[in-house]
């Protein structure tokens, strides 16, 4: 698995400081992933209307300045593999994953950055893939739930969801698993209160939060024992 911190390059989206211990303390108090991602989502969409260096950098070389409106070539690096697609610039990362690549673990629920069912990890950060354009995900390292563990095996987070019955209908579950995974990557030894404060960016209709809190703590304990990696 790639080291997210090495791959990280700023999208200029005003992320909360992520990787130093001061902000670790911050985040345990008031880290709201929902707010953070909303910020990212808006910034990313805005870049379509206000082309800047960031957008150009993200675009395939053969396209000068403006993308679309028709299909354009798009390269996505997902779970360590390159995918070559042709997509309209308006296609979201979520729709690209689901409709073009048959990676249906990420779910479409609210389709506007509220529920977290579509959560994937991009350059180490959990993002709402319904609110990231596929063209803007180019050049990033994208982790989806399909990449967490090979078929037939379970990532410790997924296993903890099973063991703690942190899922009922399961439709929010892949998004939650990715949110928990991203959280634990950054905060391998969370307290119960930190878990509670930090997973507010995903919603569950069936009411599985009790199990999810336990699952996050249990996964943390198991992963710490294994050096935090599968």
């Amino acid at each position: 698995m790639a080291d997210q911190d090495d791959l990280h390059h700023s999208t200029g989206s005003g992320e909360p400081g992520d990787d130093n211990s001061a902000s670790d303390r911050e985040s345990s108090k008031g880290f709201s992933r929902r707010q953070f991602i909303k910020g990212t989502g808006l910034a990313v969409s805005a870049s379509v209307f206000v082309p800047d260096g960031l957008l150009k950098a993200a675009m395939p070389e053969e396209t000068p300045g403006v993308s679309g409106p028709g299909e354009v070539p798009v390269r996505l690096r997902i779970n360590g593999r390159e995918h070559q697609l042709r997509l309209e610039p308006r296609v979201t990362l979520l729709d690209a994953l689901r409709n073009r690549l048959d990676m249906t673990g990420a779910k479409k629920v609210c389709d506007r950055a509220t529920c977290g069912a579509c959560t994937v990890i991009m350059d180490g950060h959990p993002v709402y893939s319904c609110t990231v354009l596929a063209i803007d995900a180019q050049g990033k390292s994208i982790e989806t739930i399909e990449g967490l563990a090979p078929e037939g095996k379970l990532h410790p987070v997924s296993q903890a969801f099973v063991d703690n019955d942190a899922q009922q209908c399961g439709f929010c579950t892949p998004g939650f698993v990715m949110a928990v995974k991203a959280f634990l990557d950054k905060h391998p030894h969370p307290t119960y209160d930190e878990v509670r404060a930090s997973l507010g960016g995903n919603l569950c209709r069936c009411g599985t939060y009790m199990g999810i809190r336990k699952a996050a703590l249990e996964a943390a304990a198991k992963m710490a024992g294994k050096g935090g990696r599968l």
Binding site: R34, E88, R90, V91, D95, N99, D102, T104, G105, A106, K107, K108, V109, C110, D111, R112, T114, C115, A117, T144, I145, E146, L148, A149, E151, L154, H155, V157, S158, Q159, F161, V162, D163, D165, A166, Q167, Q168, C169, G170, F171, C172, T173, P174, V177, R196, A197, L199, G200, N202, L203, C204, R205, C206, G207, T208, Y209, M210, G211, I212, R213
Partner: protein
């Protein structure tokens, strides 16, 4: 010979234990394929054009521009010219195209003209609803409530209410339809796998035999997914037209506008008691809306049979969208109104709410003993006696704490259904039934019952559900699934086992009636040394498997449960924000098959109940006839940190379990609204009369009294 009854507590190897759901890994690895995830080759995506008006006549539809768009493959008219739409979001036209983006473009190119008609979306005032907009239902009366109110030492009067809310299933309603010749294959997110064939057949003019329905996993229904619905039929119709599979999932906005409302219920209530707290009088005047349908007449008061009680109800017909059953239809509303009014009376009597409800528990009828036991247990769990204070937390500071309680009942029972057990000569076992797992753990329950019956480990049984090729099972509504499938499974597995006993008996030198299946062995009852392994016994079948059917069996199930919940809240009287800090739930549901998923039902219900207590409301605007929050930013659900601690206790004494299996999905979702509302009143000294208890409502209530 094994009898068709549940094993005694001492002989349960799997039943009642805490067992992880068998499809858990499939879901939490992201590999479970829901309806929304299906993508058969060549699939088209469909989008809807829906009404922007609450009520209108469709006067013109022009699809020509959409049809000219390359990649558009089929158009479906839901509401023809001359017909009416009856709510914002009512489906008018559907279009299927090569990609989702193209389908959106095509939908935008479709022109629909409307002649707007008078509408009503407000449910606040029955009398001014206008002619034809309301119906007064026949009044109910026992004793003489007016006289009893006169005679009461203490009376209390209040107006309480709950707005319309929606189901907001995470997986939207929808389906993927594919034709192979004149055979229709549908994946559909449904609570009713075995019951959809006729709806498709009659709408599409094909025999029901040609309809193949599949739903292995589904992302929530809560009572809103019993039918194929117009959009389900439309997906099939467009797929037939286009000669390609079609996916039609509602987008979130239409999901919230059209796919299910829980009726509102408001009431003006007067209650009276003697000085010692004995309830003697109830009178209520209620009103509410279930959309264009009348809805039922609420039973008020709820559970408690007040000796003198009168009730009148008016149904208001509105253009809010169609009502659908919402987990425990009508009960949460009736429960909230009743428990809030009675709790206000207890406060006027200056009684501890728990003492007041205990004093009157005899009025609950046959389940009085159960409620009493549960109330005392719940009180112990939450520390009621230590924490109780009279109305209004007098401690300094702006955070006020309070306690509230409520109790509820539900029938349960078991729906009709069939199960088929197959024992193969190689020892493998399959149980199949056309049921569905809504996330409640149905698949797991079936596996546990079959494995327990056959004396096998859980993973030795293959469970097949979610397809109408299996023996039919009823729709999952009213908490009837676990009763239906557990009894049909137990019956079919026992019948199959007895056939196996008959084959195995000669080699053990005995007869079938002397055998039992335990720990992977077929053995002589009372003489475990005489046994053969399961596989060896099955090998005696030669080449023909045993196939045995079973159906819902009333001797294994029952109905009628009770539950008590208590809530502790913290209210910030500066901001009006309420936090559910703690809930305890004591619940009875007969014989528990899987403790783990049963507990999850209760936890989930407490959380879902907290959502409608504090956050959920379909906000309708009478000025425009529209819904102001058809999205998940403003149609609020609780997040993980909005929920306090929840403690669940399941009643497992023999007296409860001996009744057999009873459903659990609905009962625990009934009380949270009432318990939380009562806790808020206890905290701030004044009733917030409407749910959800939003900050503005808290501040408005405080403006009228209470602590400030």
């Amino acid at each position: 010979m094994a009898e068709i009854k549940w094993p005694s507590a001492a002989n349960r190897g799997l039943i009642g234990k805490s067992i992880s759901r068998i499809d858990g890994p499939w879901k939490s690895s992201g590999r479970a394929k829901y309806t929304y995830d299906q993508g058969p080759a060549g699939m088209l995506y469909a989008k809807l054009v829906t009404s922007p008006y609450a009520h209108a006549k469709v006067t013109a539809i022009d699809t020509s521009r959409a049809e000219r768009l390359p990649g558009v493959r089929a158009i479906h008219i839901f509401t023809a010219v001359g017909k009416e739409v009856n709510w914002e979001g009512h489906e008018v036209v559907g279009v299927a195209a090569d990609t989702e983006e193209l389908a959106e473009d095509a939908a935008r190119l479709i022109r629909v003209e409307y002649d707007p008609q008078p509408y009503l979306v407000a449910d606040t005032d029955a009398q001014h609803a206008g002619p034809g907009r309301f119906r007064e239902m026949s009044p109910r009366k026992t004793g003489d409530p007016e006289q009893a109110l006169q005679q009461a030492d203490v009376t209390s009067e209040g107006t309480y209410g709950q707005p319309v809310i929606t189901h907001c299933c995470h997986e939207a309603h929808g389906s993927v339809a594919e034709w192979k010749g004149d055979e229709l294959y549908v994946w559909i997110s449904t609570q009713n796998v075995s019951g959809l064939s006729n709806e498709y057949a009659s709408a599409l003019n094909i025999p029901a035999t040609n309809v193949h329905v599949d739903c292995q996993v589904m992302g929530g229904g809560f009572g809103s997914k019993f039918a194929a619905d117009s959009w389900g039929v439309a997906a099939a119709a467009m797929a037939r037209k286009a000669g390609r599979p079609v996916k039609l999932m509602l987008d979130r906005e239409v999901e919230l506008l059209s796919a299910g409302c829980r009726p509102s219920l408001h009431a003006k209530i007067r209650v009276g008691a003697k000085r010692d707290g004995t309830l003697i009088a109830w009178d209520s005047e209620s009103w509410g809306t279930a959309g264009m349908s009348g809805g039922g007449v609420p039973q008020l008061p709820y559970i408690i049979q007040v000796p003198n009680s009168g009730h009148r109800h008016t149904s208001i017909f509105t253009n809010i969208g169609p009502a659908r059953a919402w987990r425990a239809p009508n009960h949460p509303q009736m429960c909230f109104l009743t428990m809030a009014a009675l709790d206000d009376l207890a406060a006027k009597l200056n009684m501890d709410s728990l003492d007041f409800f205990l004093k009157n528990v005899g009025l609950t009828g046959e389940r009085a003993g159960v409620y009493k036991q549960q109330m005392l247990m719940a009180a112990d769990m939450i520390g009621w006696k230590q924490k109780w204070h009279s109305r209004g937390d007098k401690t300094p500071g702006h955070i006020k704490r309070g306690l509230g309680l409520s109790f509820h009942t539900w029938a349960g029972g078991g729906h009709m259904g069939y199960c088929r057990t197959t024992i193969h000569p190689d020892g493998s076992v399959e149980v199949a039934t056309g049921s569905q797992d809504l996330g409640t753990g149905t698949r797991t329950v079936i596996g546990i019952v079959a494995a327990e019956t056959l004396g096998l480990p859980l993973d030795a049984v293959r469970v097949e559900i979610g397809n109408n090729k299996y023996p039919p099972d009823g729709a999952s509504g009213g908490s009837t699934t676990v009763g239906g499938v557990s009894s049909s499974t137990r019956t079919s597995a026992t019948t199959a086992l007895n056939e196996l006993f008959a084959k195995a008996a000669p080699s053990l030198g005995t007869t079938a009636d002397k055998l039992e299946a335990v720990g992977g062995q077929i053995r002589v009852i009372g003489d475990p040394s005489k046994s053969i392994p399961w596989k060896k016994a099955c090998a005696k079948l030669g080449t023909t498997p045993i196939v045995a059917m079973g159906q819902r069996n009333f001797s294994l199930i029952s109905s009628g449960v009770g539950g008590v919940q208590m809530a502790e809240v913290a209210v910030d009287i500066d901001t009006g924000i309420v936090r559910m800090e703690k809930m305890v739930a004591v619940q009875d549901c007969g014989l528990i098959i899987d403790m783990k998923t049963a507990m999850s039902q209760v936890y989930g219900a407490c959380i879902m109940g907290t959502c409608y207590a504090l956050y959920e409301e379909k906000i309708m605007d009478q000025q425009t006839g529209t819904c102001l929050n058809p999205n998940m930013e403003f149609y609020k659900l609780s997040g993980l940190d909005d929920i306090g601690d929840i403690t669940v206790h399941m009643m497992t004494e023999d007296s409860y379990q001996d009744r057999g299996v009873i459903g659990l999905g609905e009962p625990p979702v009934i009380s949270p609204g009432a318990a939380i509302s009562n806790a808020v009143a206890n905290a701030i000294g004044v009733r917030v009369p409407e749910l959800p208890i939003t900050p503005d409502r808290v501040l408005a209530a405080l403006g009228k009294g209470g602590l400030v």
